[in-house]
């Protein structure tokens, strides 16, 4: 689109100028070169959107009614990824902490990657194109895998863990880890991560001196109400009153925080490590390309899953099976 700059007046060879000659000659005038491009793209966008708006109407459903809950109800698409995360982990992490960390990470990129190399051109480092493509494919694949794992009954992923035995409900302490099944229902493997706190059971011998009363530490029974220190002190006001009476639910923390977060950390480190060993990730810039691409791809994939693969009760289904119950 660049139009040859008209020769500037008084550009005699050797004349004194503020900047080196080469630099100046590489420059074009904003009017007309840039203003023209801006104008054309504005016109094209205007036309496109007017046509679009004539053809497709913005949605307007029934008047809002707090008594009638549509199923499923969904956030706008750019927040659907958070809604999707909510299904897989603790809500504070999914809805607030992880997005905050992601934004903080974005804001921090230029302060962590300060090299001046490879700026001002697309994909400036040697392997950045393949890093970007590989990471994007990897992130799509891993996100898909994790979403599928967490809907094990629908995706049949639970087959892989069927070998874990059913719990014997009459036994006092179950030595071998086992999965509790609903009464009368057939045996299932691990259906979602939440099963680690809800259905998984095991016990190990444990001295009573360390807090048990029957010589066994039972998962999850003995661990779901661990009082935090000083939770009986009456002191604080405002939000800190939450500390009072606070107990930790270790199995729940495991299933909703430790496992999901370490999974994210693990797959992030894994791809960086692999690309590093391949010799493709060579600078900090490359590390950030990997992470930025991964975060954005996950953002997009989770939004797409939320938009097109979640039906009533947020069950994982095919797009053509989605039926919205207006309530």
């Amino acid at each position: 689109m660049a139009i040859e700059a008209p020769p500037a007046p008084g550009r005699a060879p050797g004349a004194a100028r503020p900047r080196p000659k080469r630099e100046r000659e590489e420059e074009v005038l904003v009017w007309p070169d840039l203003v023209f491009v801006e104008f054309i793209s504005a016109v094209l966008f205007t036309i496109t959107f007017v046509i679009l708006s004539v053809l497709i109407n913005a949605p307007l459903l029934n008047r809002a009614n707090t008594d009638v809950t549509p199923n499923p109800s969904k956030a706008p698409w750019y927040f659907l990824n958070l809604q999707e995360l909510l299904l897989h982990m603790d809500k504070a992490w999914a809805g607030v902490l992880l997005p905050t960390i992601a934004l903080g990470f974005f804001a921090a990129i230029p302060y962590l990657d300060r090299s001046r190399e490879a700026q001002g051109i697309w994909f400036g480092t040697k392997y950045s194109v393949r890093i970007t493509i590989i990471t994007a494919i990897y992130a799509i694949f891993i996100c898909g895998l994790l979403v599928a794992f967490d809907a094990g009954d629908r995706t049949k992923f639970e087959y892989a863990t069927r070998w874990i035995p059913s719990c014997d409900n009459s036994a006092q302490h179950v030595g071998v880890p086992c999965l509790r099944d609903e009464a009368g229902a057939k045996h299932l493997g691990i259906v979602t991560t939440k099963d680690f706190s809800k259905r998984l059971q095991f016990s190990i011998p444990w001295p009573d001196a360390l807090g048990t009363d029957d010589g066994h530490l039972d998962w999850p029974r003995d661990l779901d109400r661990i009082p935090v220190p000083f939770n009986n002190v009456d002191c604080c006001y405002g939000s800190l009153h939450l500390w009072k009476g606070m107990n930790l639910n270790i199995p729940d923390i495991m299933a909703n925080q430790v496992i999901p977060l370490s999974t994210i950390a693990f797959f992030t480190v894994l791809i960086i490590y692999v690309l590093f060993r391949l010799g493709w990730v060579r600078t900090r810039r490359d590390v950030f390309i990997t992470m930025f691409t991964g975060v954005l791809t996950a953002y997009l994939v989770l939004s797409l899953v939320g938009s097109f693969f979640r039906g009533q009760g947020q069950a994982l289904i095919w797009p053509w099976e989605i039926k919205v119950d207006p309530g």
Binding site: E26, V28, W31, F45, L60, S73, K74
Partner: protein
Amino acid sequence: MALTEEPGKPRNFQERIGILQDRIYDKIFHNYIWQSIFRSGYPNTPRNQMLVVATNVFLHLHPTRLHRTHVKITHTYCLGGLTFFMFLVLTVTGVLLMFYYVPSVDRAYQDIAALETNVKFGLLMRNLHRWTAHAMVILVFLHMMRVFYTGAYKPPREFNWVVGVILLVLTLVLSFTGYLLPWDQLALWAVTVGHGIAGSAPYFGDETQLIVFGGYEIGPNALIRFYTLHVIALPLLAAIFMAVHFWRIRRDGGMARPL
């Protein structure tokens, strides 16, 4: 044309038309009113072209010249500029919508429905506002990707990247606050999901819900808060940060270039 000939005497039809054109041009562009608005004619010398960019209030966001590679479409794909253009379109269509919309639980839905059927071009304005809002969110992400993959956040542009991240958040929040305003089922329940997410903030969840949504469920308080944020507070903030953003591009020595 022979130079000796007396001026002003047309020899044939074409010359007559030519003179007529000149007269019309003269009447339109050289009259008192026009010249009071535009202080000079079309800038057809490089010097005037630089002057017009430097002195025109709308154009002076630009530098007067820039590097050849930066006007290549494939360098920026105009993404930042188009994001800004979407913001302008949203402002115009948004102001038009404001004429017909009252942010009360009793009227909001009815106003939107009436706007679609009773107001000439009302539906078109609403559609434009809706689709350009989605486009702005998409474009701001694409713009951020463009900046990232061209390494344009590197020194000395670190802070402008941070301003960009703030603009990204503002864009998302602007879009989200607008989502509630039609007060239909889609709006209510989408925002209810967001309300739940805000409520899950550790320690400050309840406070966040109270401050941002005006209550523990979505009602009249939430509507008026979202409206005020959507039509004045956030656009103003966004405009301020955009001004800083554009100004910083120039202060940082124009757009990033290879060393």
